[in-house]
Symmetry: C2
Subunit: 304 residues, 2 copies
């Protein structure tokens, strides 16, 4: 069982080819849509009383428990962005926090014993508030973003010291550590506390760094990408989902979790919001997982 | 047996931590230093009468044949650059072509039947001049750079149509094709003629794209990098060297060639010039090759 905390938002996304208005978004959304494929997932979040019913029903479908999803008088968090042609960099057009402004995550008592925790990308103080309420979880993974490195650095450092695994992208890893080489950045981050650092590298895949070594997974190659929003959150959901599914957080299981996280993220980017991620079958997931494994296979050889 | 053509230069490199003056550089240099580890290599290039003897002796050590290395009255090609902190992007400080300005590659008659050809990064017209003199080679691989995309696009397009494999980096692949996704860029490049497109992704590794599928190799993770000059050329040398060693250019051998190219390039970046690349033992290469294979290994699994 997994407890997930994060943002739930209505996203308005502009890409070079498309425009989506108030689709369901937010870190908790993508993590839940993803993790719930693999293990029972409970959500901790907040929405306004304008939260559309179809979106509420999605959470009820994904999550075995939505008692931690607070509904507050006011407006749901809304966010708008425009992607650059590279579909990686984006400009925020507006951020209307609404009820999210006063979000103080409350974990219902019956969920505090959940062994696995996914701390989606929100303020590190809010992430730690959840940790404070959990009762000795087995494994905690957290995501973060540039904003918190810029404005909440000390809180972020404390959060990093309290988790088993940190998921971060390559630019953030460099910014956080001042290191140029990602291998060096990972060493620096390991020294801050987590046993596992997972660096997301966009279309170049993801890497795992522990004190015992590294692992690299490619990203599933796609000819075109519709909307990359939520890809990183989906990745985290696949990772924590697999850990919870296996009831095991050893390195081999984390590697598998990275593979399945990469696989699920490759579906997320094929639509705006959760449309594609929510509609795929197990067979489609397994086929792409097998494809991912095949991408790196080469016959070993010896140079003589 | 491999025929290699490219530039031979005296490089002056500034990095955030170091400064190297007139070290041996140029695409042909790194390709020969690399390929000659694996298969007999002949060089086609030009230097001035100021070319230092120790550098000439390096070519005599690496290459079974240096009759194609012309010495012309005048100055050897000199190039200077300063790297940005990311050790990827660099500013050219000066380019003094010297005798390279009038380089018209001449392949000695006894080398024209060589089955394998490595066209290092020089003007596509010069690359095609070499091709025009070769007698039905088995496999030809070419590298290029942004400069030729900018100023010699039509010549480059013709060159690409004449090679079996193109090695290019991710930014160049996007610039050449106008595609955002590298998978789409590779499709576009395959349609131009080559059966294999190899995209270099810096510290994110390299990928192979053919009509039958893709392959991804990570880069060997290094905590620090001294000087990335020549890494791409070294990579190409490892690739064509392995093809020639195996006398086989099928997809599996190309995959192995990419692995060994990545491996050799990881040594090049640990020093300025060819110092490190030239000094490593077979055991060191094999150890790193085995490490590279281990980086992507994960137990296959099924989601139920």
């Amino acid at each position: 069982m997994i407890v997930v905390v994060g943002s739930i938002a209505l996203d308005s996304i502009e890409t070079p080819t498309d425009k989506a208005e108030e689709v369901l978004g937010g870190s908790a959304t993508f993590i839940c849509a993803s993790a719930s494929r693999l293990a029972p997932t409970a959500v901790i979040g907040i929405v306004g009383d304008d939260f559309p019913n179809p979106y509420r029903e999605l959470f009820q479908k994904w999550c075995f428990d939505v008692s931690g999803l607070a509904v507050s008088p006011g407006r749901t968090f809304r966010w708008g962005c425009r992607y650059h042609p590279d579909m990686i960099h984006r400009d925020t057009l507006f951020t209307e926090l609404g009820v999210f402004e006063t979000f103080s995550p409350l974990v219902p008592a019956h969920l505090r014993g959940c062994p696995y925790v996914g701390l989606g990308n929100i303020h590190p103080l809010q992430q730690m508030q959840v940790l404070d309420q959990m009762d000795h979880p087995e494994w905690v993974v957290a995501d973060t973003m540039k904003l918190w490195i810029d404005i909440a650095r000390e809180d972020l450092d404390r959060l990093i010291g309290r988790v088993n695994a940190l998921v971060i992208n390559d630019e953030e890893a460099r910014q956080l550590t001042g290191c140029i080489s990602l291998a060096a950045a990972a060493e620096h981050l390991l020294a801050m506390g987590p046993a596992a650092i997972i660096i997301k590298r966009g279309e170049h895949g993801a890497s795992l760094h522990t004190r015992d070594g590294q692992f690299y997974s490619p990203a599933f190659p796609l000819a075109s990408v519709k909307d990359t929003t939520g890809a990183g959150d989906t990745f985290l959901g696949g990772l924590v989902g697999w850990i919870a599914h296996q009831k095991n957080c050893d390195v081999e299981t984390i590697k598998q979790g990275i593979s399945i996280g990469s696989c699920l993220a490759s579906f997320t980017v094929e639509s705006s919001g959760v449309t594609r991620l929510d509609s795929i079958s197990r067979q489609e997931i397994q086929a792409r997982l097998d494809g991912l494994e095949n991408l790196v296979r080469v016959q070993p050889f010896v140079i003589d």
